[in-house]
Every structure is written in structure tokens, then in C-alpha cells.
Symmetry: C2
Subunit: 298 residues, 2 copies
């Protein structure tokens, strides 16, 4: 399959739904809602929602299943966007540029940015528990909410960001690096694939396979992120390149060198694809996404 | 009924459950979890969880129903605590003192405080969607999550805090003041009572009555908060007294004077109690809570 065409199509479908599910900037709360929309519609790659849709398609590639998965897919983008807004804050990574645009707090101020993040996180749960997702069985929706909250929360993404802040500037080893990444970025990526499967009615074995796939592409994704920070330009990335070196951050390339890191990413992708062995051609989008993740340029 | 004995009993039950549902400060995320626990166990009044339990008891005062409502009640305290941590941040209200103790960010730093808030918010949804709440019917749990998210989110508490920040220092009128309070503090208070009712199987008419009760005590609660800021001492409040006047904040007493504000609070309590007319003696805790709210000293 032609991955670029597939990604464009899926991204467009996701954009439409994000626009439908997102609050309109009207009424007394319009300024706050504008701040949320600014970051949500800043042109992200929509990798997590697409992974969610591809995870659902691996079990059942019908349009009906894709439609069922849409609110869940969009909830992941709400959460991802909230995490970027909070991570960019002066008290955290203090970044000025994100997706090629000034970061949320540089445009709206710190208070508004904190609240925009809080609002997007809360909206994710409102979406999956609300009318947009009534097509999914109640029991599955509760499992989805529980899985999303677990991955996004204190033992997942939020905990990972906290570890990252605590160890900033320290010469941590591989175990710690792995732990930070697994929680900070890996958990939500894995959850997006697994939740797609839950929507589509995956059985236990299928869920385990999707989890193994997600864990491996999450690892590959992070290694490639580290490599791109060294090798790409700021214009290509849409965020400040070279910031890891500047901040003396421990990364895969700083621990293992560029070449070994690249090999590690490729091996993780191979393991991800191997985990998909029980699935038929319906999992081809997941297979193509795995390869795309190491080949991407931003 | 003796309100002080009732409040002490209920608070103790809530404390036990909060301790059970809260993450333990062990493992790699222990520092982050310590920051969450610091604010969660800082000796709050636990008004929202108690309102949730009393809302459930108004429909069914059995111990079984109270136990069912416990995870929902505690979710409200997680969310309330997160909102206090974020509101106290330097970029927001910049407060040093809360519940008689240094605020979260003064102890753990801004980044850790932002993440402690994020973690508590996420944990609220994990709790209600997880094993602790399986006794509640799936459909009701989804309604609970949707109600909580709606009240806590961008058209509720988060939106209200955003309005409050935007209008800080401005001479707003009564309509705007009412709007800020309804969203910033009223929505979550109302939701706590209504969600208690949902757990206990309230019918539509009962839910409407609980909502009217909640809206009115929310208003009374806010007016009394404004009055206490003028009249109590910092030692009594556990947070800086007189801060509204210092920051030139528009409040009920600044718009209407102390005496009229007090009358307004009393009238709201009367309306709250009137809304409980359809309920029998099982709603006595709600009635007592309404009176307590205007009579409290902190």
C-alpha cells in the first residue's frame, strides 16, 4: 500500500471528526476555546488517532467500525495535544516553537495554556463517555476510558513527563531512559492501537498482539525522534532541532551512537510487524505505519 | 441532626476511601505521587464527596448505596484538589498558602505541581471507569463520567477559571460574576450531588430536584466564601484572608455589601431546601448541609 496516500486520507477523516467533536469558539468561554483550538488545529501528524483507526481495521476494516472508532481516535489527539501544551510551558521544557508555530503559552499566556490543556484532557473523557460514542457497547466504553486514563495518567504519560523533568540534565542510564520513554510516549501510543482493537471487538489474543505491536512502534518512534533532533533542521521539524544536545539530554544516539540507534529502531519495527503475524491483510495499514515510523523525516 | 458529628463521620469515611483509591508513593513515580498526595491529604473539608454521598442517601440511605457511591465521591475530591493545585500556580492566582499549608508548587516546584494536577484529574476518570466502581450499572457509570467531565471541563470549572483569569482586576457586573461562579465552582458542586443521585438510581424528577438543590447551595457557598474572605482571619481560613480586597476583586460583598450578600446566601439556602420537598427524611443530611454552608466559619 502507498503509505503517504493512506496517511493523507486518514488524516483528512480525522481532521473532519476533530472539527465536529471540538467545541466552537462562541459564547462566554470563546477565548478559552480559541486557545484549545489553536493547538488542536496546528497541523499535527495525527499519528495516534490513525494508529487507533488502524488497530480497529486490523480486526474489522469496515467503514462502520472505523466510524465507531472515530471518537476514541480523536480522544487520543485531544490528550496528545494537551500533553504538548503542558510540556511546552516555561516551567517544563520552555519551548517557543511547536509544529512550526509559536507554542500555546507564547500566544495566549501561561494561565490560558494550562487551562487549554486541562480542558482538552477533560474533553477526551467527555467525548468517549458521551453521545458521539454510543455505538460502542457500554462495557467496552468503560474499558476504553479506563485504558486511556491508565495510559495518560500518573503511571503512564504524566508520570513519564515527571520522570523526565526530575532527571533533566542528569546522566541517566539505558534502564531509566527506557522507563521514561515507555511511560511518557510509549503508553499512549500502545493504548491508541489497543483501544482501536477494543472498539472492533478484539479477543484477548488479538489485544495482546496489538499491545506488543504498540510497545515496539512506540520504542521505534522515540528512537527516531531522538535521531531527527540531531539530523533534521528546525524548518523540517517544525520545532527546535538540536535541542537535546543543547540541553545535554540523554537520548538513544547519545547512549548508543547514531548507527546503533538506527539499527535498534529498525529491529523494533521488525518485532512490531512480527507481532502482527496472527492478522490478515486487514492489518496492512498497521504494517505500513510501522515502516513509516522509521522512515519519516519529521 | 447534629451536623458537626455527621460531617466528621462522613469525612472519616471519605478519608479512608481516598487512602484506598490513591496511588502509593512507591516505585519510579514516587516523587510525582508524593506531590499528588501532599495536596490530596492536606486536610480538606471534603464537602464535594460528602455532598455526593448525601445526594445518594436522599434516594437510598443504605450502607450498600453509600459504598457504591464512594469511588464517585472520591473522584470529585481528586478533581477539586487538582483544580486547587492549578489555580494556586504563579501563572494563575499565585497563592502561597492553602488549607494552612504551603501550596503544592512552593513545595514541589511548578512543573511537579502542574503534573500533580494533571495526574489527579486523570485518576478521577480511571477510578470511576475501573474495578472500584463495578457495582454501579455500566450505563450509569458512563453517565457519571459524562456528567463529571462536563462539570469539570471547558464549559464548567475550567471555563470558569479561564473567565476568572480574563476578568481579573476588571470591574465586572453581576451577570458576569454569576457566570464565573456558576461555572468555576457551581458546576462541580451541583454535579457531585446529582452524581450521588445517579448512583442511587434517581428518576428524572429526583435528578432535577437534586440539580436545583446543588445550584442553590453552590451559589450560597460562593457568597459565603466571599464574605469569609473579608471577615475571617488567615489563621481561621488556612488561606490568605483579605486577598479579594487586596486584588481589587469583584465579589458579592463588593457589589451588594455585606448585609445584602448574607441575605442572598440565606435565600439561596432556603431555595435549596425547598427543592428537596419531594424527598423524605433520607434527605435530611442534604438539608443540614445547606444550613451548614451559610453558617460555616471557614
Amino acid at each position: 500500500m502507498e503509505i503517504r496516500i493512506y496517511l493523507d486520507e486518514q488524516r483528512q477523516l480525522v481532521e473532519e471528526r476533530l472539527a465536529r467533536y471540538m467545541l466552537e469558539p462562541i459564547g462566554v468561554f470563546s477565548q478559552h476555546i480559541e486557545a484549545m483550538r489553536y493547538s488542536l488545529f496546528a497541523g499535527g501528524k495525527r499519528i495516534r488517532p490513525i494508529l487507533c483507526l488502524a488497530g480497529a481495521a486490523a480486526i474489522n476494516s469496515s467503514e462502520n467500525t472505523r466510524n465507531l472508532a472515530m471518537p476514541v481516535a480523536c480522544a487520543f489527539e485531544f490528550i496528545h495535544t494537551y500533553s504538548l501544551i503542558h510540556d511546552d510551558l516555561p516551567a517544563m521544557d520552555d519551548d517557543d516553537l511547536r509544529r512550526g508555530k509559536p507554542t500555546n503559552h507564547t500566544v495566549f499566556g501561561e494561565a490560558a495554556a494550562i487551562l487549554a490543556g486541562d480542558g482538552l484532557l477533560t474533553l477526551a473523557f467527555e467525548l468517549v463517555s458521551g453521545p458521539a460514542a454510543t455505538g460502542i457497547a457500554d462495557k467496552s466504553r468503560l474499558r476504553l476510558i479506563h485504558t486511556i486514563a491508565g495510559a495518560a495518567g500518573s503511571l503512564g504519560m504524566v508520570g513519564g513527563q515527571s520522570l523526565d523533568m526530575i532527571h533533566a540534565g542528569e546522566q541517566i542510564g539505558y534502564d531509566e531512559l527506557r522507563h521514561i520513554h515507555q511511560s511518557k510516549t510509549g503508553a499512549l501510543i500502545t493504548a491508541s492501537v489497543v483501544c482501536g482493537g477494543i472498539v472492533a471487538g478484539a479477543d484477548e489474543k488479538q489485544e495482546r498482539a496489538l499491545k506488543a505491536y504498540g510497545d515496539n512502534i512506540g520504542l521505534a518512534f522515540q528512537i527516531v525522534d531522538d535521531l531527527l533532533d540531531i539530523m533534521a533542521t528546525t524548518a523540517e521539524l517544525g520545532k527546535s532541532a538540536g535541542s537535546d544536545i543543547k540541553s545535554d539530554k540523554v537520548t538513544y544516539p547519545s547512549l548508543f551512537g547514531v548507527e546503533t540507534s538506527h539499527t535498534m529502531a529498525k529491529e523494533a519495527v521488525q518485532e512490531a510487524v512480527a507481532a502482527l503475524a496472527p492478522f490478515d491483510r486487514q492489518a496492512d495499514p498497521l504494517r505500513a505505519l510501522a515502516h513509516y515510523i522509521v522512515d519519516r523525516k519529521k
